[in-house]
Every structure is written in structure tokens, then in C-alpha cells.
Symmetry: C2
Subunit: 320 residues, 2 copies
Amino acid sequence: MTLSNLDLVNQIDALPNAATHPEAFAKSIAGCARFVCGSHTVGYLLPIVRDALIVPALSGDWWDIQPGVITLKGDTVEERTANMAKTTQQWRQAKRFKILDGWRNEQYTIYAPRGTPLFYMERSATPLFGVIAYGAHMTVYVPKTETTPMRLWVPRRAGGKSTYPNMLDNTVAGGMGDGQTPFECIVKEAGEEASLSADYVRANARPCGTISYFYVRHADAGGEAGLLQPEVQYLYDMVVGDPDLGEGPVPAPCDSEVAEHMLLTVDEVKRELALGHFKPNCAAVVIDFFIRHGILDAENEPELQEIYTRLHRRLEFPTR
Amino acid sequence: MTLSNLDLVNQIDALPNAATHPEAFAKSIAGCARFVCGSHTVGYLLPIVRDALIVPALSGDWWDIQPGVITLKGDTVEERTANMAKTTQQWRQAKRFKILDGWRNEQYTIYAPRGTPLFYMERSATPLFGVIAYGAHMTVYVPKTETTPMRLWVPRRAGGKSTYPNMLDNTVAGGMGDGQTPFECIVKEAGEEASLSADYVRANARPCGTISYFYVRHADAGGEAGLLQPEVQYLYDMVVGDPDLGEGPVPAPCDSEVAEHMLLTVDEVKRELALGHFKPNCAAVVIDFFIRHGILDAENEPELQEIYTRLHRRLEFPTR
């Protein structure tokens, strides 16, 4: 069975949209509570998470529980961050949620409108609260010439990774933790994942927009299935030389996260997409790249308009 | 007063989004009827239009009127097209709506899901029915070099045009009437508006996605203010040579629609955007171009995420 580009988008933008599919949306979040902080709704809480919050030890000082609305207490960023940390640490020690086995010791930022931080929280716990997570992805490619087609540098994830082992990835990608900007994140990950020098990346990586979508986690993402994970990914493109002509730089594994880097033609990448070999959100980044670069267009992709708008979903929570 | 990029987006994406602003959306369409055809909602009908449809001569054979829902009758594309044509012709003769003074004799297509035509209708009447209109826009630019910044070819609309006289435009743009594909539309308009040869455009224009938004017409758009006009614009970029080096091609006025073509640097274009000199949906195309080309990014545009998702709105009606 091969997957269409829309099938791939459906995998990552999985929560129905309230504007276009109001009934399906209402059904999907029925039973969820709104996660409120400082008068802003910042996420949805599934029943399994709501139930874990409605215990006296937690709800007393750290949470205010009302029907359909659960509020993180605290008047300052520091207080809210501390209350969230006590909650997730308690769950971690009690082994309450499997997803917390992947504890990262990395702090993600949750925002009020206009990019004001509301609080910080452990990265691995964000899907329990349905809050927006941010990352940065870069596609490194060798442009087409008169004799060679465009080729993309595609890494294969290490077999030992806890999430999506052996799947294909974007050349460089990472989550934006600990207050990183997207560009700093890309520069750092480019060194760690692909051995690309910071100087080269700073001079050549080009920002080219974002993708955003509302992911509902699959089992192969690790942890409980069905957790809600809206995401914004900041995108970068970077041109490199043709290694067949002795040009470079050539991405190479640096840490144990990546097994190998392959230079694939556009047709080879299309084949791997259709076979479902890409990590789902990396497939979405590649599809957006193909649309921006004129490889997918209205003449060859009948679902272009749905695909492109789904990849740029306006999320209902405040964004960075 | 200067306009921010988000101000410019607010001008063209003006109907509140039901997913992110449900109350403002409900207020905006309060009093509107849904325009239904073949079991699909394809537009919103403002009270002034609904009232014009609720007259015996029209509602008898051509329209089915129910509270909140008005259906175009007809079992086939031909019947529905004929019923719509009789309606709009009658209004035109009776001088019922000012917007029909701009009658074009050009047929726009209204779609069911998956791009199946439901019916065809006169272009100038589409904003009366709140249905999606399609166009194609191309940005022609001279890439930056080590010594010169990127420059865009920007036409100034003729002073005699009925809509947006003297405003700045995208290099080539047009509505997709009479069953045109976006690429055919661009090739034709490039010749008519900018004297660019079809051969050159076919070889060099590169598709690069779409923008979509829900426009609410201003008075300077011509016709009644407040009419609803959701739009999808197919985008193309095209690189040309530097005219200062004797390269080309050089866009030049061909018909009476364009006063002149100017080659503006990115900074000059930014200034013209901020001064509100661009036609609103052309400003949106330029902003999308700036984001895709790394001129606007997360580091220099704090509203990047809202701007980019607003420019790729998933519309609630079936699209081409």
C-alpha cells in the first residue's frame, strides 16, 4: 500500500478543525477539559490526564479544578513553573504515565499571546497537557543542474532510538528547549546531528516559513497513544555543493542518533514518502519543501490546497 | 501612519476564524444564510442578498428558500449554471447591485469537494454569493548578488482602472476564469500585463504554493462594501536577469491596465507595503514571498506565525 501526500498530512494533522469540521471536532474533544493559565486556554486535557489532576495532593495548591476547565495556579512565571514541575515530578516518580519514561530534563516554554512566556515545563510532559511544542527543521539539498536532478540529504534515524527507530528524517531537526531561538536550535543540531560547522550554517541556512498542525500521538511516537500535541516547526533550507564533484559540505553522523546520511533524488524521496518511511512530521516538512520549490503544484497534486492549508494550521492557543 | 505586516494581513483576511475566534465569527455571519448547492455549503449570503433572492420570480423555479439555508436548484451543472445566470442577469438589468456594473462576461467555477464543478457563474457576481474565487499571481525578481540586493518587478496600476487605481500590484496577476488552469492564467496575463513572452514564462515560472484568506470587500474594491469574498491565489516566482547589465526580460506595459513597471529593492518594497500603497491581496502575496525567501523570519517579525497561518487559511467551502 502506498500513501498519498494527503494521507501523510492526515497522519500529523489529525485533530479535526473546528472551522471546517465542527461536529467531528466537538466529538474529538468531548470529555476533554480546557487547560487554562492566566486567562488563556493553552491546551486540552484528555480524561486520563484530568483524572490524574483531580487528586487532593495536586488540586489543592497547584491546580484549580472546575467542570470542563482546569487552571494552573500561580501569579508569576516562577510560581506556575514550580507548580507544573511538582505535578510532573510526582507523576514521574509514581510512574503514572509511560510517556514520562522519556524524561528529557529540557524545559519547553508555554506562551501567552504576543510571545510572552506563561511558564516552563519538562519537554516530555507537554503531550499530556496538549500544549504547543516548537521545533526547527532544515532541509539541506543539492540544487538541480542541467544534467542532475535536485537531491536532498536524508538521514536515517538510528535503530536504537526510542522514537521512530530506522525512519527517515529531515537533514537537521530538533525541539526548541531551554529558551532557544529557532536559528540557534538549527545551528546546534546541525553540528550534533550532521557534523555541519556552525560557521557554514550561519552563513547559508535560509529561513523559509513554518509548518503547524495538530498531531494526535501514535503508539510509535512513544508513550500513551492518543495524546494531543499541536506543533509549530520553523523551517530552514540550505544549499550545499555536489559531493560527486568533490564539493561540500557533506553531512555525517556525529552522535548516536543518526545511522547514515543519504543523498536522494526528488524521485527517490517521493518513493520513500509513499512507502511511509519518513517520520510523520518530517514527511510534512518535505511536502512543504516540495510545494515551495515547485515540485508539487496544482497540476500534479489534486489535493494541493487542502495539503498546504492543513500544513499551516492556525492553532487555537497562543503561539510564540 | 505606517502599517505592520499583520495590519496588511488583517485587511485581506477579515472574516474571523471559527476555530480560533468562535464568538466573533458567529457575530460576523449572524443574519447570513448558508448558500447550499448539491448538499455542499459553498458560500454565505448576506441579508441584502438573501432579501433579493426572496422574491417570487426568483425563488419559484431557481432557488429553494429555507430559514438560514438557501439552495440553488438544478440537477445538473447546466441547470444550476442556467438558474444562476438568470438570477444575476435579472439583477443586472434591474440595477439591483452596484457590483454588477463591473460585469465581466467571464465565467468562474464553483466546486464540490475534490474539484468537481458544481456550476459556473459571472465573475463580478461571485462576491454577492460569498463563494471562493481563484486567481494566479507571479512575482518576477532579480536575485541578489554580492553587490546588489534582491529586486522585485512591481507594476503600478493605471489611474483609470475602476478598482484600486494607481496602486502597486504583483508583477503578473489575474483571476482564473473560463476554466483556466493557474499556469495558463499566468502565461496569458504575463503577456497581456507585462509583455513577457509565453515561451520564457513557460520555461521559467516556478509554482510555489498558494495563499488563501477570507476577504470582506472594502469600498475601494468597487461595488457594495462588506461583501464576502474568500479567495485562493496560486503563486509563481520567476527569476529574470539584471537590466542594469543589459539582461532581461524587462516587463513592460502592454494593455492599458498598467501604468509602469518599476524595479524596486526589497527595502523599497517594504516601504511601499508599510505605506499601504499595494493592492491588499498583492501585499499578501509579497509578504508570503518575503517569508518563503527568508526576508521575514521569526527573528525580525514577531507576528510571523499568525501572519503565515492567516495567509494559508483553510476555507470552510470545498476548494478546487
